[in-house]
Amino acid sequence: MKNYRTKIISNQEISPGYYRMRILAPGFSETAHSGQFVMFRVQRSLPPLLRRPFGIFRTGSLPADCDGLPPKEFVEIVYKVVGRGTTIMAELHEGDKVELLGPLGNGFDAPSCDGERILVGGGIGLVPLYMLAGELVEKGCNVRLLMGGRTRDDIFAVTEFERLGVETYVSTDDGSLGEEGVVTKVLERKLQKFPKAEVFACGPMPMLCAVRDICVANKTPLQVSLEESMACGVGACLGCVVKGAGHTEERPSYLCTCKVGPVFKAQYLDWNALAQSHGCGGCE
């Protein structure tokens, strides 16, 4: 974990409203695991004041060029333009100076492979699944990725995922790409076919709730990556806490998304509280 004062290598729109930013970050890939995140400082001046958390899409390095200098290591984030901060980010260019704190948090826990691995990503929730997919494929797992979105615009990086050797399934609410309907419908079908699968999910809370309910019903192990607003990313502000399973007024359990998470085993979370705080009704 380090605060990088660095610069942008590239910043491109990869699907309407979605951008991929590649940032120079020497030494980053050695310590980064799938599911971790960075705190990105949009600009040195104000506003916006606070950094923004972004999932790591992937790390890598550019080959050494003729100048004989060592290969340039980079980290890539993918972000959706939703507000003030990301609007400014979308206008940044190659060479612009930025600050990046990371890698932060606890990522996915995927030690071995003895069965199917099903990844479920909704929209921007696809981001942390790319590195995970790569790691799982390397371990010899059969990886299936269920990509969900409102429209075709929310589906990105399909080719990259497929190049890893991942089987992809696309569904959109409006049917503009892939199957019409929600991604969890596909999940239910896949779990019938592969009852011993393990599931890894990231996406909007209503999707995560539905995924969790399906996994509970099927007794399927599930890990989820959560998104909460946070100020510091290092466990100091206590702004990003979620309630742990068994949380009560008398015996409270608040877990920092930035430090304990952002990836949690589903059974350790209080799903009713999660659903409520994201305004999407209760989970079963």
Binding site: P47, A231, C232, G235, A236, G239, V241, P252
Partner: protein, 313 residues
């Protein structure tokens, strides 16, 4: 370059003393923005900052408020964390072992739900020799009991300070809230009740609404506003308090650059605390220390005390 022509830049003396605590420089974190110190160890040398101020400690662990707890506003943030902390016993057991290894004064921020609890925590702090001082929080705007209830009423403030003064065998800093009509009234009351130093300001109560859901943006409805947005208010209040009391004052409120800290020192704060800026840049305290030093060199200031309280009126 020959020896004779090399000019040596004399480093200014940055050391200050507050209520008997010797600080190597006047910059420290504000409670609640720096965890228990260890969280920031990867980003700056904790033995180069003036002091470490802990998250607010209570007798029992405290869960804090429901979420969402924070919301960004223009040049600031609202928070209603609700004083979540591990409790004094867990602090001693799990957080002190690290803090104990540091050659930097540790100031324990603390609070109680009741008058008695304030006294109990103070007593417990006596058992930790490495704690240099206590910072009494009578100013948290986000909890129903304790905190601001004591800080907005001069009589209640005086009562709690007097009680804690009796129990605590260490220097006592009292942290004041800006959410009063006249901060000098409370400042005078806590000085008379035995405060050895005053730190101010805590956050300013605020509110923000999501226009689409029409709900408050934080679950507690209101929260404490911090960050650059509040700095002019803080400078004004620190100035007023410095004019009123004779105990040393620690200035807090929206400091994120060296020049911000300098403003507070010039109006008379003997030290400063940096809060929200730690979230934005985890090594900002070091940057501020370096910047103050540079300013002193540029201005020919040999001792930071030449700057403190040098406001020209």
């Amino acid at each position: 370059m020959s020896e004779t022509t090399r000019t040596t830049v004399k480093k200014p003396s940055m050391a200050v003393e507050i209520a008997g605590i010797k600080l190597r420089n006047p910059v420290m974190p504000a409670s609640g923005t720096f965890g228990y110190g260890e969280e920031y160890a990867p980003f700056l040398d904790l033995e180069k900052i003036g002091a470490i101020v802990t998250k607010g400690l209570s007798l029992k662990p405290k869960a804090g408020n429901p979420t969402p707890r924070i919301a960004e506003t223009i040049s600031g943030m609202l928070n209603a964390i609700g004083l979540q902390n591990v409790g004094i016993e867990a602090f001693i057991q799990h957080k002190m072992p690290f803090l104990r290894t540091l050659n930097t004064p540790v100031i324990a921020n603390f609070f109680g739900n009741t008058l008695e609890e304030y006294g109990e925590v103070a007593k417990r702090l006596n058992d930790i020799p490495e704690i240099a001082a206590g910072e009494l929080n009578i100013s948290c705007p986000n909890v129903k009991r304790g905190g601001i209830v004591f800080g907005t009423d001069p009589k209640a403030a005086s009562e709690v300070v007097a009680l804690v003064r009796k129990q605590l065998q260490k220097p006592l800093i009292v942290k004041l809230t800006p959410n009063v009509t006249d901060i000098t009234v409370v400042a005078r009351a806590v000085e008379e009740a035995g405060a050895d130093a005053i730190s101010c300001i805590n956050t300013i109560t605020g509110m923000s609404v999501d226009i689409h859901t029409r709900k408050p943006r934080i679950a507690n409805r209101t929260g404490g506003l911090s960050g650059p947005a509040i700095r002019p208010i803080a400078v004004r209040m620190v100035h007023q308090v410095v004019q009123t009391v004779s105990v040393p004052v620690i200035g807090i409120g929206g400091i994120s650059r060296p020049m911000d800290a300098l403003e507070f020192l010039i109006v008379g704060a003997k030290a400063v605390q940096v809060g929200t800026a730690n979230f934005v840049d985890p090594s900002v305290i070091q940057t501020i220390i370096d910047g103050i030093e540079e300013f002193c060199i540029d201005e020919g200031i040999e001792d930071i005390h030449e700057l403190i309280g040098s406001l020209k009126l």
